[in-house]
């Protein structure tokens, strides 16, 4: 059963387990590819994770002159191929979320590859496996649909990828709690 990364943003408590876990996936060379931001840093402690959303029509790959960013058959948008990336940094400028990171010394871009080492075999990505608050989940289409129904707002307030952000994305993002005042039990 095909599963997707699903993000419930407001659950995040800022523990940064996902950053630490990201360094440990095979092929990551011990460098994390995700981010955790304070929403209103001078006022409260609400945080939210930010990772590659694996766009269906990825700006990073479209802007790469070297075709170094490949799209996996699962839809994951992979990190730069090490022998192809020519270090132009177009992809970092193109990504609408500022996800790709660039290493000047190695002349190489690296980004979230949805832990392809794991997800190609149906194992959840590192960040989702360690997240203690269910901010990052690994769900089937059916489960995601149920989430969408459960939190169907229908008030024009959707700002996340259900339905879409800029683009159609393979990772689904949701903000059900904050917008609906739902209290969650887990």
């Amino acid at each position: 059963m095909k599963k997707r990364l699903y993000i419930e943003l407001e659950n995040c408590i800022g523990c940064r387990s996902c950053l630490a876990a990201c360094t440990q996936c095979g092929g990551h060379e011990e460098r994390n590819r995700n981010y955790v931001y304070d929403v209103n840093p001078l006022v409260n402690r609400q945080t939210m994770p930010l990772m590659c959303l694996h766009c269906v029509n990825p700006a990073c790959a479209r802007s790469c002159p070297a075709q170094a960013i490949q799209i996996h058959e699962t839809g994951a948008v992979l990190s730069a191929l090490v022998e192809k990336c020519i270090g132009c940094q177009n992809c970092t400028i193109a990504c609408p979320y500022g996800i790709p990171k660039f290493d000047t010394e190695q002349n190489l871009m690296y980004k979230c590859d949805l832990c392809i080492d794991r997800t190609k075999d149906g194992i959840p990505p590192m960040c989702a496996s360690v997240c203690p608050t269910n901010t990052l989940q690994w769900l089937t289409e059916v489960e995601i649909e149920a989430k969408q129904k459960q939190f169907n707002l229908d008030n024009g307030k959707w700002v996340t990828s259900m339905p879409y952000l800029e683009n159609e994305t393979n990772v689904k993002v949701n903000l059900p709690g904050i917008l609906q005042g739902v209290t969650k039990l887990f």
Partner: protein, 353 residues
């Protein structure tokens, strides 16, 4: 619309492909004509390589013309050629294409393996191709002395047992040993190292390594058969070797080895960033930090437009924000609170693995 500069040479051919192919084959023939002193020194044992090279050129142009038509590639090639004569070009070229300094920064093991493979292959090509097309050959005019002839000119005369002669006879053996060592290192890494194993595929990552080692081993076997077996099996082995080289050449434009003809673009990319960075930098529309050249920012926005991707917001295109502001802007889209307007630096984004 700009009026196209119509070139009569372009009109003579059905396609770019036909033109490139014609010019390349013509070039080869002319060089060979000169090199062989009007075809008087052709070594027909090497005929297979000649056919192989021509088929390779077909694949090469087919693949690279298609690739050069992609909008971002077109821009970097066009501007790269314009900027080719920057002062820093020689230094950048050496670091990117000869000493592979950036691979050193990825790891000494990876650098050693690539240095051996890359220079081993280049060395063999530098010896093999001039021999194949008879651009270079050896003659013995005086007993005990060889004359090296390059493009029909006598370059030097060396004693047949001397150091230079020994190095020349053994150049292909030395390069074969370099490639074998490098490929074994690469194979070992691909089998043992968890970082390398993560997303490798047999066809993409192992096949080129196997082909390279096959070429090198059959090449060395030729020497072995000459020196130790008095030429036994030499003919069959030379055919096997020749076929393996031809197959690799034909494969080259398509798989992992396609990076070889196309890596010089990394020099273009560096020049492009340096040159336009000196001209004018783009300031982030939110925090004012200069983060990329204006030229590159415009080029990326244009390329995205060609691909029907528009990230235009009310006050800016997303590509006009520096990376931290762009990420914060996204958080603002998630939460409804304008995080990007709070003047606090992003904290704690790099975990230590």
């Amino acid at each position: 619309m700009e009026s196209k500069n119509v070139n009569s040479l372009d009109n003579a051919f059905a396609s770019k492909f036909a033109k490139s192919m014609f010019l390349a084959v013509l070039g080869l023939i002319i060089l060979t004509f000169i090199g062989t002193r009007m075809f008087t020194h052709v070594d027909l044992n090497l005929y297979g390589y000649m056919v192989g090279t021509i088929v390779f050129l077909g694949g090469f142009f087919y693949r690279f013309i298609a690739w050069g038509e992609r909008p971002p590639t077109k821009i970097i090639i066009k501007k790269g050629i314009k900027l080719l004569f920057r002062k820093s070009t020689p230094k950048t070229s050496v670091e990117h294409l000869a000493t592979y300094r950036f691979i050193w920064n990825r790891g000494i093991y990876r650098w050693t393996q690539h240095f051996l493979i890359g220079w081993g292959c280049l060395l063999s090509c530098m010896v093999t191709f001039p021999l194949v097309f008879s651009w270079m050959y050896f003659t013995m005019t005086e007993n005990g002395y060889y004359t090296i002839v390059l493009f029909g000119m006598n370059i030097m005369t060396v004693p047949a047992e001397g150091l230079i002669a020994q190095l020349s006879y053994n150049a292909l053996n030395i390069s074969a040993l370099m490639v074998i060592t490098g490929v074994c290192m690469a194979l070992y890494r691909r089998l043992k190292n968890m970082q390398a194993r993560a997303d490798q595929k047999f066809m993409y990552d192992f096949l080129p390594l196997i082909m390279l080692i096959f070429i090198s081993v059959t090449g060395l076997a030729l020497t072995f058969s000459n020196v130790f077996l008095h030429g036994w099996g030499h003919y069959a082995m030379s055919l096997i070797h020749q076929y393996s080289v031809i197959v690799t050449l034909i494969y080259l434009p398509f798989g992992k080895l396609a990076h070889i003809p196309f890596r010089p673009l990394s020099v273009f990319a560096k020049n492009y960033r340096e040159h336009y960075g000196e001209q004018s930098m783009k300031a982030c529309k939110v925090c004012g930090t200069e983060f990329v050249s204006t030229e590159q920012s415009n080029d990326v926005i244009q390329v995205l437009g060609v691909n029907e991707i528009e990230f235009k917001k009310e006050q800016f295109h997303l590509a006009e924000l520096c990376l931290p502001c762009r990420r914060k802007y996204r958080i603002a889209q998630f939460s409804g609170f304008p995080t990007h307007e709070v003047k606090v630096k992003e904290a704690n984004q790099n975990a230590k693995g």
